[in-house]
Symmetry: C2
Subunit: 330 residues, 2 copies
């Protein structure tokens, strides 16, 4: 029996290089040694997109295509759609009894997201309670491991608190505490150099971008504003093109030589950008091709989601039945 | 097609005379002209009793027995257990997106309950969101009418806000606004004269109390502390025995004569109490007998809950399917 991973995405847009670096690449590696459940969290995405349901709807398929395109194997992973498993929402309803309002208010991740999204008075209850719903998603699969970013540690603490509290209140061993794997890689910036690549910030390179779009976006990247002539010495730090090369250039020796050359002068921005375009295209090209192949057979993709959701639902239903028995509801 | 009523109880204890006066008596009348759904709200009861699941569990049957004993006909009413309908919890999950945290915080009913239960920092999220869950219970049945007490008006306003918001956000006519019927009868005090009869205050006369228990409880009632000898004039106002007679004495003319006699002196407390005992016994006696008959056939009672829950689930599932389609979840 392989250990179980629960991971996934909100279907709010097609996935981009930030997702690739931060999670998709790892998932492709994890599928060798873990049983991986991939949640496409449409119900959770609705909590702050409730007035754009069609956006969520369309992107379920986009995310599934991206998963397949990067090499996530539907034979070795379970792809599923959250809203297809009402038992997950049922479980989160019961978990809400085990968490106080003030505990959620103290959750740093939630605090920060509310601040960022400037929700304030307009904060929907659904969004406020999402750490609890996420805990249900995780615990329902008897998950061993959740790969996360550093900023999501409080979510895992909350999840484990709920597991412990449920088990102790009801005198059972129904839910297992999970172990986070925290990504060691830094966060990929946007093409504008801002701290985070994000669809809503308009600074993303998507895994479905064409070669032309990649070239156009790399050409938009800031380099060193004082590096005006090729022969001038240039700065590598804060230079968006080199920031990307640090993430994607497979040849670290050549990259160091390139940086030295750029620093002492004589290396043009266009040469460096061409190198980045080639590297990104050699990464994204095959992804784009596989994506196109799956796009020609959407019925097959739908079937994968169908089969996966059914399998996931059976797992969750059994766990929720166990939880309800513990709560004397049967 | 009869108009639809949704009403019910949290199964936190057997029902008492306060329930009889405030709701059960009306429900018996309503069953003639309405299609009545009777929810035994175990999932909701867990929100502030999560650590006593066995108490909720046991009382599901007690409440069902009380319903049958007062004359609610399982052929004309649908008895159902809330936790048996996960779709209700699913629906409340989606409704949470349509209500802001600050809106719930401003709900006067919730504010007052939190104050009364002295929850403060320990307020569970599940209890905090119960107005939303209650809205789901009501709206899922395409309910026309909800009989409530004056203090629950804000809950109905909240429910109708959700119905309107769902319909307008998703451009559908999925949920119908409900009309409250506000009970005209005042609130029955406890046997200690406190404003509310309640199991937790230990001042209740239960519908399953024996004749001896009724006598004992009536004998505990305060009368007029200055009415020491039979010939003394007595006060009727604030006299718990007369407060009860006001509710239950079917012969208002005799009651007025009795009050006049008590006021001018010459009428002993024990005479008045005997009258109340007789009246209560003539009300509760037949209820107790019917209850005992059903208790000898618990399998039949379980079957009523089973059949009712299945019927109710089908109604709710169809409505939730319609709501999910509106939210593009299918």
């Amino acid at each position: 029996m392989k250990p179980i991973i629960l991971t996934g995405d909100r279907p709010t847009g097609p996935l981009h290089l930030g997702h690739y670096v931060g999670s998709l690449k790892n998932r492709v590696a994890f599928q060798e040694t873990y049983e991986q459940y991939l949640i496409i969290a449409d119900a959770q995405a609705l909590t702050d997109n409730f007035d754009h349901p069609e956006r969520i709807r369309e992107n379920i398929m986009q995310v599934a295509l991206d998963y397949l395109a990067v090499g996530l194997d539907p034979q070795r992973n379970t792809f599923f759609v959250q809203s297809r498993i009402p038992e997950l929402l049922e479980l989160s309803f019961y978990f809400m009894n085990l968490v106080t309002v003030s505990r959620v208010q103290r959750n740093p991740t939630i605090k920060e997201e509310i601040r960022q999204k400037e929700m304030g008075e307009s904060l929907p209850v659904g969004f406020f309670v999402y750490p609890i719903s996420q805990a249900a998603d995780i615990l329902a699969f008897h998950t061993d491991v959740v790969p996360i970013g550093e900023d999501q540690k409080p979510m895992i603490e909350q999840t484990n608190e709920i597991a412990r509290k449920f088990n102790s209140v009801y005198g059972v061993n129904c839910f297992k505490e999970v172990r986070p794997i925290i990504g060691q890689v830094g966060r990929l910036p946007g093409i504008d150099g801002k701290t985070k690549m994000s669809k809503s910030l308009g600074n993303a390179i998507f895994l479905c971008d064409s070669a032309d779009e990649i070239r156009r976006k790399v050409n938009l990247m800031f380099t060193d504003p004082n590096h005006l002539r090729i022969e001038d010495p240039g700065k590598v730090e804060g230079n968006v093109v080199f920031m990307f090369l640090d993430f994607f250039d497979p040849n670290k020796t050549e990259l160091e030589e390139l940086k030295a050359h750029y620093r002492r002068g004589g290396l043009g921005d266009s040469t460096v950008k061409r190198r980045l375009v080639d590297i990104l295209e050699s990464l994204i090209g095959p992804i784009r091709e596989r994506r196109a192949a799956y796009e020609r057979d959407l019925g097959y993709v739908r079937q994968i989601l169908e089969t996966g959701s059914e399998k996931a639902r059976a797992v969750v239903a059994a766990k929720v039945k166990e939880a309800k028995e513990a709560m004397k509801l049967f």
